[in-house]
Amino acid sequence: MNIPTNLKYTKSDEWFDPATGAMGITDYAQSQLSDIVFVELLVEEGDTLEAGKPIASVESVKASAEIYAPAGGKVAAVNKGLADKPEAINSDPYGEAWMIQLEGAAEGDLMDSAAYEKYCAERTH
């Protein structure tokens, strides 16, 4: 399980990069969902978000899932190419598959990588 130490994490399995404001879903989330076949971003550049608001909808062959904003703030950028390449969420969840970038982000209640690793381990048993 890949859990980068420089990122922060939500209980609903999103990652957030405090340095850049970027966010997406974690390696754990993509492995649980299995092959992602569809992704739709629900927000646009310039939108103002509260933490916990749905920002994307993701479908795999197993299930569909809502993705929530890990932090509040203004949407500075959205990854427009992602809709045409949903498989990037499986292959590169922390890189190519970033979903949106937030500006002036007010972090919600986020975990560090150690806490998130423990949280994932608890759920696999």
Partner: protein
């Protein structure tokens, strides 16, 4: 013990009907016309470019006979698809729904000419009321989700009629069928998810916290999709009622309760039935389903119109005159005519009439016994995450310590043993879920053969995981590329670019 059949690599693939076409072949030879010829429609409406296949009748019949032999159905084998209640459909249903009096009627006929049909619908309404403990039933909804939509419309109309306009939230447990949030969403309601506790019941603390005066109600399946009867059901209903909300029952799992528990007696306000699950109407293949809705006394006035009612009471040997009645505050029509009459109501009526009250109770008792028997046989080989006495179905985990075999692989491998796979990856709150519902119609030999196959597959997952991960091997087609099918949607055999832009 049973063994997996030899792995045959011979694949017999049936070409598409377009591949079988040859220019100039015709289906039938027409005799000389004995009626005057009329002109074709105007030329601009004619479509010479349509790629209609050209085949003889015998080729068409053989093509579809071949395809039908590839099918797996409840008539060809065990079909333990959890939450779907794929019970055997007795063949007497097929006789009754083809009786000429039922078959050759039209929904717009004068009521005096269809009294038999109306009497059947009236009696079915009465029976469903008796079975469920509700005060009124509509037979209109075309399927389960349509019944949910009808029920939620009734709940909303009830609140509105009381001038209570601030209710916008529907409470739905995390074990719910996806149709529940979808039906609420279609109504523009906000869905609030309520977690399950460690025993698979609704988490009472979370429910209590969510209950306030903005709640329309709660949609609950009981027994739930884990196959568990909520141990606190009375408390759950009390919490929802105390905040002014209504309790909606998803009747998908009614097969566990017939003649034992009546949802209306528990305090549910609304519930849909699935005649195509519980009452042996054929299920699958895209319908027609049938999703009647029952309501408690305070909601009867809101039922869709028309209901079947008695217009004139009978006397001595004179039967009553049946007709259509309109509830006082009806939400309106849910369907153009009266619901799925021959396909749904006549079959369900036959099933209930053939079983009677004691027979219906037997159905549920055997359904629950069969599920518990299978659960007991698989316990120890498969992890049962919510391990309690189950109702008519249960959920196991399709994964093993130190193995990368998954629920999907187990499901595919079951096809090599000639069983339809159970529901997998649902409910979402179980890892690698395998949701197994044997139904009451299966005998012990079938249940044992199925359990043996699952136990054998668990062994294979350790000793020969590749054979499981690449299954099925004995079907006409091997493992389908589900990812490609979902990512590259091609729903038409004739691609849009082939259409000339005239």
């Amino acid at each position: 013990m049973i063994n997996a059949p030899e792995q045959t690599k011979v694949k017999i693939v049936e070409p598409t009907i377009f591949d079988l076409s040859s220019p100039g072949r015709t289906g039938v030879t027409m005799p000389a016309s004995d009626v005057p010829e009329t002109a074709l429609p105007p030329e601009e409406l004619l479509r010479p470019d349509l790629p209609l296949p050209e085949l003889a009748e015998v080729d068409v019949v053989r093509h579809y006979m071949h395809l039908s032999s590839f099918n797996y159905s409840v008539d060809s084998g065990f079909y333990p698809l959890g939450s779907c209640t794929m019970k055997y459909n007795p063949k007497i249903n097929e006789d009754t729904c083809r009786l000429p009096g039922f078959l050759y009627t039209h929904p717009l006929q004068p009521i005096e000419t269809v009294q038999g049909n109306l009497a059947l619908m009236y009696q079915l309404q009465e029976w469903l009321k008796e079975i469920s403990g509700f005060a009124g039933v509509t037979l209109q909804p075309a399927a389960g989700a349509h019944g949910e939509f009808t029920g939620v419309l009734i709940m909303r109309a009830y609140h509105k009629s009381r001038g209570d306009h601030k209710r916008v939230k529907m409470l739905i447990p995390d074990s719910a069928h996806g149709t529940n949030p979808a039906s609420s969403g279609m109504m523009g309601l906000q869905v609030v998810q309520i977690p399950s506790d460690s025993r698979g019941n609704v988490d009472l603390k979370a429910l209590e916290a969510a209950c306030d005066d903005t709640v329309v109600g709660m949609m609950l399946t009981n027994p739930n999709t884990l196959g568990l009867f909520d141990e606190n059901i009375e408390k759950v209903i009390e919490l929802v009622h105390n905040c002014g909300g209504l309790m909606y029952g998803d009747g998908a799992n009614l097969n566990a309760l017939l003649g034992i528990v009546r949802p209306g007696d528990l305090g549910f306000d609304v519930m849909h039935f699935n005649l195509h699950k519980t009452f042996s109407v054929p299920h699958g293949g895209g319908g027609p389903g049938s999703g009647p809705v029952g309501v408690a006394a305070h909601l009867v006035d809101f039922l869709p119109e028309p209901l079947v009612g008695i217009i004139e009471e009978g006397e001595d040997d004179m039967p009553p005159l049946y007709g259509f009645v309109k509830p006082a505050k009806t939400i309106g029509r849910m369907k153009a005519f009266h619901g799925h009459f021959g396909g749904g109501m006549v079959r369900a009526f036959t099933y209930i009439a053939m079983h009677g009250p004691d027979g219906l109770r037997d159905i549920s008792q055997y359904a629950v016994l069969n599920a518990n028997y299978l659960q007991a046989r698989l316990r120890g080989t498969y992890k049962i995450p919510y391990d309690r006495i189950c109702m008519h179905e249960f959920v196991a985990e399709g994964r093993f310590e130190g193995s990368d075999v998954r629920a999907l692989d187990i499901a595919k491998r079951l096809m090599d043993y000639n069983f339809h796979p159970p529901t997998n990856y649902f409910p979402l709150i179980v890892h690698e879920a395998l949701m197994i519902e044997p139904t009451e119609t299966e005998n012990k030999d079938t249940l044992d053969a199925f359990a043996d196959a699952l136990i054998k597959i668990a062994e294979e997952a350790k000793t020969n995981p590749e054979v499981v991960k690449s299954a099925p091997h004995t079907t006409k087609f091997g493992r389908m590329d589900e990812v490609k099918a979902a990512r590259e949607l091609v729903l038409c055999c004739w691609l849009p670019e082939n259409y000339s832009d005239q």
